[in-house]
């Protein structure tokens, strides 16, 4: 099952349309959309860490514990480009500028708590990668400086940030500079891949809530830069914003499809036959709980090692006139079964 969380409806539209998701009625205070086969759901969380975390709780709280292993959670949406560091050798030959990209996030920092999170990036689809910082307020100050130009001179930038903090009390910017300073210094001094830092208001909250349910290989953050669509006061130019998100929906789709394929494979329950056999043997042997666990392990191993357990079981039963009167006899039969299967 793929669970997509997006903060705002205009961010999600492109994905909803491309995946033909239909409105879903739920008891939760979040709009959600679902694919016809039920394998993909998209939920609109609203803006900010707290509501995003609440949405995660609602979405994942619905699953049984065993089902959670088949869930992949994607936070898809817009963000601001906070900073991009160039390496000494970096060539901008792609023609694509950094504020026209959809990024796969490899590190999340909660600006308020300083906590950092690292999703496992096991799907490889050549999306550019970035870090993201999640704050509680719209990225303010001078968006021209923060976004369009990039902050190549990191040390100058940090000085400027410190000045800003001193002159106008902008704690937000000072914290941001502190979070990103060392990485960009490290990158700019070495011939390694450049680093990009994004800013949003949900990602870290989503990670923090989702990690209570899922592992880092099940968490995915796809963030498209939409600086052109948001003005300095955080107001959205809806037309420009939608335009950009349409492009990002195209970029995100192969990633989501890949996840859906993987999830579908995991969703098959190959052990159903084993469970039936386990029950059959347990009943026949009048098994106690301990015996049942032994039977489960034996059946599991036998299936993996290529034994025909049913046949072996029937042969064992045949040595007891095809029946087992009580648990005492059941124990003897179980030991007989174990000796054959475990090679004892």
């Amino acid at each position: 099952m793929i669970e997509i969380i997006t903060a705002l409806h205009p961010e999600a539209e492109g994905v909803i349309r491309r995946l033909s998701l239909k409105t879903e009625k739920t008891a939760f205070p979040f709009h959600s959309f679902r694919s016809e086969d039920g394998s993909i759901r998209l939920t609109i969380s609203g803006t900010g860490k707290a509501v995003a975390a609440a949405a995660v709780g609602c979405i994942l709280g619905r699953y049984e514990r065993e089902e959670l292993s088949t869930v992949q959670l994607v936070n898809y949406g817009s963000c601001a480009l906070y900073q991009s560091s160039s390496t000494r050798n970096e060539s901008e030959s792609t023609g694509q500028t950094k504020n026209e990209e959809l990024y796969l996030v490899n590190k999340l920092t909660d600006l308020d708590s300083g906590a950092t999170y690292y999703p496992d990036l096991l799907v490889r689809l050549n999306l550019p990668e970035a870090e993201i910082i999640t704050g509680s307020r719209v990225l303010g100050e001078n968006p021209e400086k923060n976004t369009k130009q990039g902050l190549d001179e990191d040390s100058d930038d940090r000085r400027q940030m410190a000045n800003l903090a001193a002159s106008d009390g902008s704690r937000q910017m000072a914290s941001l500079a502190a979070v990103t300073g060392r990485q960009s210094e490290f990158v700019s001094n070495r011939e390694i891949l450049p680093s990009v830092t994004l800013y949003d208001m949900e990602a870290a909250g989503i990670y923090e809530a989702a990690r209570l349910f899922l592992g880092p290989h099940q968490l995915h953050f796809l963030k498209g830069v939409t600086d052109q669509g948001i003005d300095a006061n955080g107001r959205i130019d809806v037309a420009a914003f939608r335009d950009r998100m349409e492009t990002y929906a195209d970029m995100a789709l192969p990633y989501i499809q890949r996840l859906a394929d993987t999830s579908r494979q995991q969703g098959r329950f190959p052990h159903e036959q084993e469970a039936a056999l386990e029950e059959k043997i347990s009943t026949a042997l009048h098994a106690s709980v301990t015996m049942q666990l032994q039977i489960r392990q034996l059946v599991r191993y036998a299936a993996l090692a290529g034994f025909d357990v049913e046949k072996i079981f029937e042969q064992c039963m045949a040595t007891h006139d095809g029946s087992c009167r009580d648990r005492r006899e059941g124990k003897l039969l179980l030991e007989q079964l174990r000796i054959v299967i475990a090679g004892d």
Binding site: L193, Q297, A342
Partner: protein, 336 residues
């Protein structure tokens, strides 16, 4: 999911980002994406990781040495009769991916950690050496020889051992490289211990490791270059038809390795602590070797007493016939 380029991501603790070894290691991976972290545990200790999936796309973490890096040997490990038996984890996890590897049960992550401040670990060993002679296994929680091109730790440890007369080191490996003997410093107290497994076991369960012939050739080449070599038939893995499979392995071993020049041998069947097997089974739900119905005894899972005895005795006896003078260490369950 997919596995392609090695170490697509390298996480580096900020405090070692300028360590010479960090730079040296990074130089091998110009295509990797570097992510600075405060502490290796922020990545390594995340809850709910899938070590099995991570192994298919393993990442590297470079970290400062821990406060303690040298530990007394665990009861499940063969001590080869050494009183002061220790092991050190200068790296955690392995480039190889053996299905039965206890590391998947012990560590929360499948990513590889290299502690770059090797000199701090040396200092810890020196503190022990000032009290008594030490027998130190440096390649228990990893395969250092497989990583020699990346970190050169076998070279560094060999040089360190050469300077400390009361230190004996064991480097356990499933690596099949023969070229390393020309570069590694030779020290009579640095033992290269090859885990020898039958080819069907290697193919089925020891993913990424060298084939049997390659391991044997590497061991033979090491002997030819004058390095002390140990052969470890440990862990013996139960597979249906094990008698023939292990016999074939010994026949192959005799063909390739001059057994009379092997320093010693060890024999032991697979065993693992209760808690590690529980985690390992969760990580490897579809692995027959891990899902085998083991017997639990005093906190350790192993094959039944009779199967253990048959497997180990058969191998020891056959080995004894091939090399009558062989020093064979068989793992004994520790007394309570």
């Amino acid at each position: 999911m997919e596995g392609q380029q090695k170490f697509r991501h390298i996480y580096i603790e900020k405090r070692v980002m300028d360590h010479p070894r960090t730079r040296e290691i990074l130089a091998h991976f110009p295509e990797s994406r570097v992510i600075l972290i405060d502490h290796y545990k922020a990545v390594f200790n995340r809850r709910g990781q899938s070590a099995a999936l991570q192994h298919q796309s393993q990442n590297l973490i470079l970290a400062a040495a821990k406060d303690t890096n040298v530990y007394p040997g665990a009861p499940v490990c063969q001590d080869f009769g050494n009183a002061h038996f220790y092991y050190t984890s200068c790296t955690m996890n392995c480039l190889y991916d053996c299905e039965y590897c206890y590391l998947k049960g012990m560590y929360p992550s499948g990513n590889l950690v290299i502690f770059v401040e090797l000199e701090k670990i040396f200092a810890e060993v020196e503190a022990l050496l000032s009290q008594f002679p030490v027998y130190l296994c440096i390649s228990y929680d990893t395969d250092l020889l497989a990583m020699e091109d990346i970190a050169h730790y076998c070279t560094a440890w060999s040089e360190f051992a050469a300077q400390h007369e009361n230190l004996t080191i064991e480097i356990r490996t499933k690596c099949g490289r023969t070229d390393l003997w020309d570069h590694l410093p030779r020290c009579e107290r640095v033992i290269f211990a090859y885990t020898i497994s039958p080819e069907p076991v290697i193919l089925a369960y020891e993913h990424g490791t060298a084939k049997l012939d390659n391991r044997l050739e590497a061991a033979a080449e090491g002997i030819a270059h004058g390095f002390p070599v140990r052969l470890c038939f440990d862990p013996m893995i139960y597979v249906p038809g094990w008698e023939e499979i292990y016999h074939d392995m010994l026949v192959q071993t005799v063909k390739i390795v001059p057994l009379s020049r092997v320093r010693d041998f060890s024999v032991g069947s697979f065993r693992i602590s209760e808690s590690y097997l529980k985690n390992l089974r969760r990580q490897e739900p579809d692995s027959a070797v891990v899902q085998y119905p083991f017997t639990l005894d005093r906190g350790y899972y192993h094959y039944s007493q009779s199967l253990t005895e048959r497997m180990e005795r058969t191998l020891v006896e056959e080995l004894g016939r091939m090399v009558p003078e062989a020093a064979v260490f068989r793992w004994e369950e520790p007394n309570e």
